[in-house]
Symmetry: C2
Subunit: 214 residues, 2 copies
DNA sequence: GTTACTTGAATGAATCGTCATTCATCATCG
DNA sequence: CGATGATGAATGACGATTCATTCAAGTAAC
């Protein structure tokens, strides 16, 4: 029964994290009171400090735990496809679906984490790097298979692609108006990129003639 | 000499804004002290309250003033091109150049403004909307001219395109490593999109597909 | 041109509220 | 009984904002 302690720990730890998600999403990190998180989690103020070092720590841990789950899920979805182009579409769909399903969390990751990961210069934000690298991984694979153009810089692509999805999500999260469906948007965004990344969009002749002058 | 007063006003207002840019960029809005801005601007703490309502107001006004200048400049650059595709490339280059030239400001706009524009639910952030609409404007123009595919949703495109540039900027601003040149990245990002947006990448067949509904 | 008075910009020390965090105390369980 | 987890009132720091006061420049009167 000694392990019960751990289990109980896990329980309160969880409850606090979940409460924090709600509270941070509602007021933003800096305007959230620890006591409000405590109230929402149904624990005493002091209890929070048995599970977390301080307020910052709540944010970091919440981010890392949730991010790990997200990474795993998206990874799995992407792995389910074999064609690189399909992987990219799948990534877009998975990303936007996750945002739609976890709006509060998405809001925190988009707004608060960036805020503080800049402020906390030390924090390297590994999970986010990994997430981005899922994308560049797909690109490299596509290039290796000859399906994607070789002159695409994976390091630029991953940011551009992620950025596009992310900005679209922001729209979802911050506005209430849903003009476009997730499916539709994911599809369209992936398309913008894919048609530019595919080695030959349609029946094409040579890649040399591609660009005109500027 | 009575007008000197106004001039002097303008002067201090400016100095405070400029100081705030530095301070906010360095510590983030919430970790910045009004007294530090005052020190940086070489005015007394109280003086700030003669020019701004409160700390939030400093952020909002700084954003709006700087944004107006940015909008005007990018607008002008885009107008200098006539071909929609060229406009898009130009937009990308202008955007990234601005970021490179005003890193502190860019950092604030990316991180702090978003933070607080969520927190201040009322704040509609018109300047940002306008900025985005520069992009959708280009798309619509391109579609009208038949240069861009008609089935592209300008409202999705503007976010995707902006998001891509923005994420790339974040990399510049937050990391110190500059692996890719601005020029190169702008070019590449615009290309990802353009090759997907151009009505006919190469010699294609049917002209019927050109016009469509929106 | 100098003296006396008015105005309002500028100052910065003092105030006042607000939390994050602590810790003395309590409850529970084995 | 300890011991370990939980509590929540009390503490202390901090920092935005205020406001009584100073000061410089303008105006008028002589």
């Amino acid at each position: 029964m000694a392990r019960r302690a751990r289990k109980k720990n896990g329980d309160k730890h969880r409850r606090i994290i979940e409460a924090a998600v709600k509270v941070f999403a509602k007021h933003g990190f800096y305007n959230s009171k620890v006591s409000e998180i405590a109230r929402a989690a149904n624990v005493a103020d002091g209890t929070i400090y048995l599970y977390f070092q301080n307020k910052d720590d709540i944010l970091i841990r919440l981010f890392e735990e949730e991010m790990a789950a997200i990474l795993e899920r998206v990874q799995r979805e992407v792995d389910a496809e074999s064609d690189p182009a399909a992987k990219l579409r799948r990534f877009a769909r998975a990303h936007l679906s996750l945002v739609e399903e976890n709006q509060e969390l998405a809001e925190i990751i988009q707004v608060e984490i960036r805020q503080s990961s800049k402020f906390m210069k030390e924090y390297k934000n590994v999970p986010f790097q990994q997430y981005l690298n899922l994308i560049s991984g797909i690109v490299k694979e596509g290039q290796a298979k000859g399906v994607f153009r070789a002159d695409v810089e994976p390091g630029v692509f991953k940011r551009a692609f992620f950025g596009a999805l992310d900005e679209m999500s922001r729209y979802w999260v911050l506005s209430s108006a849903r003009k476009y469906s997730v499916e539709r948007a994911a599809q369209e965004i992936a398309d913008f990129f894919l048609r530019g990344v595919l080695a030959r969009p349609e029946g094409e002749s040579g890649p040399d003639s591609a660009q005109g002058q500027d």
